[in-house]
Amino acid sequence: MPLALIVEQLLNGLQLGLMLFLLAAGLTLVFGIMDTINLAHGSLYMIGAYLAATVTEAAGSFLIGILAAVIGTAAIGAALEIALFRSLYRRSHLTQVLATFALILIANELVRIVWGSQPISLNMPASLSGPIEPVAGFRYPAYRLVVIVAGIAVGLLLYVGVTNTRVGMWVRAAASDREMASAMGVRTSRLFTFVFAAGAGLCAVAGALLGPLLAVQVGMGENILILAFVVIVIGGIGSVRGALVGSLLIGIVDTAGRAFLPALFRVLFPPAISSEAGPALASILIYVLMASVLFFRPRGLFPARG
């Protein structure tokens, strides 16, 4: 197996993992701090992608498109938090699941009404549309490399923010013990709005960056949402570090699995089995991984609460 192919797949996995991290970080914080399941997190990602596509088309600039998407989605996130999620914090998980499931239905239909059922296109900047050759003999799409770099940058920003700023400290305190944090004077209600809006902004970044690579269409949020949930369950709810580890793990395992498992099966098994078993196993690999992690660590790898 050529080294270049392996490196390429690992980079793809890294890219997926970093984008997953952007979603998972917001999700795990909302979960960890507000103890709230938000199925509509994927819808924020979708809205981010749609906003990016529309503004990029109108303004002619991908950068402006992303910026508009982040600001717009964060604003929507803040509005949702104030208007709806505040009523959900004290309710049961079942209520939250159903309410946010309703949000998915509403969001999908609204998007369908405004933009139609057909996928819309979000084009990557022309300057990035070709491959580059970072190392002699190895070519990789420039855009994907930029996505990786952007993901790392945002991730670092998040890490620095969470560990080194006052707000970040509040966030970590609240994730570890919400009541105690509130008793210690953390303004929980504003913090919640901020966390929610920030999570929405991160979703928008992921949506905008992935838009050119995947289709921008109604329902795009659902598939990645499930991956994000797998990530935070593996990583441990409430833990940003867990979200990072989980995302990279899932991103790489899923990508490498899909790329190499079928080939591996073809080597090991007769075609009658391998032609289907390989891809089938590849598609469920991350769920097997999740079940295994939960078997040994029922609360994930780095649960935020003791």
Binding site: H93, L105, F229, A280
Partner: protein, 316 residues
Amino acid sequence: MRDSFHISLSPGATAAAVAALVLLPIALNAVDQSFYIVLATRILIFGLIATSLNLVIGYAGMISFGHAAFVGAGAYTAALLIRGGFDSAWIAWPSGALAGALLALVVGAVSLRTRGVYFIMITLAFAQMVYYVIVSLKILGGDDGLNVPHRPVIGLGVDLRSDAHFYYVVLAIFVLLLAVLRRFLNAGMGRAIQGIRDNETRMEAIGFATYRLKLSCFVAAGAVAGLGGGMIAALNGFVSPSLLQWQQSGLLMVMVILGGAGRFLGGMLGAAVLLGADEILSDYTTHGSLGVGIVLLLVVLVSPQGLSSLVRRQLG
């Protein structure tokens, strides 16, 4: 003596309801709307499936987000058997139930070691696994699914190819299973699972093997869901992976909540409302989901008891 667990059905109302259901096809035929018999059959089947989920969510308090997988398992099993020449409903449908039960056993055995939101996520993940496996296997038709070439045979002078006959068979199964469920819920096992819902830790602390109890409940629900799946496969004449999508699991949960989680007829009511609304709305708009979403959101937010109680308090 007060009995907080007791499900009481007024004999008069029950008899009237059953009578109405029995007369329905006749009435529909009379007004030349016999097309709706199939819809009514579908509502009964989903009512049964939703009731099985209500057992898990509403009565036992386990928020399972992967119930569609058991329906799908039953549907595909029945479809494969009928396609393979095993025409008899006496084989196809119980096999569907068995498939649902076995899958629930595996999923439950692993998932029930977790609690709270981890449980929700792991049940969802398992359902996804089943979905993706089915989609990947060509012998299961992949994305397109499988045709069920004809309705199964049941004998006893009943011809399932007749929509009316199919309806009556489903109705009989429905009434029978609901009666069994009511008996079960009103007795020792029913008290125990509701005890688990109320305070699982204390149930264990007074000597109940809660894991085993929850697993039994989960498997029983999986069996009924599998049976429902088998009946759907026969009714529709095909099975497709869309039966197993997680949105389907979500819709089943919606049925339970709309109808009333923890209320005996909650699943039935929810199925009737959702499927009925879908039928009516689809004539007017393709954006029916918007309405469903808004209604669901309002119900969830405004529900006076708060869905977190999940119990209809039958006070005194």
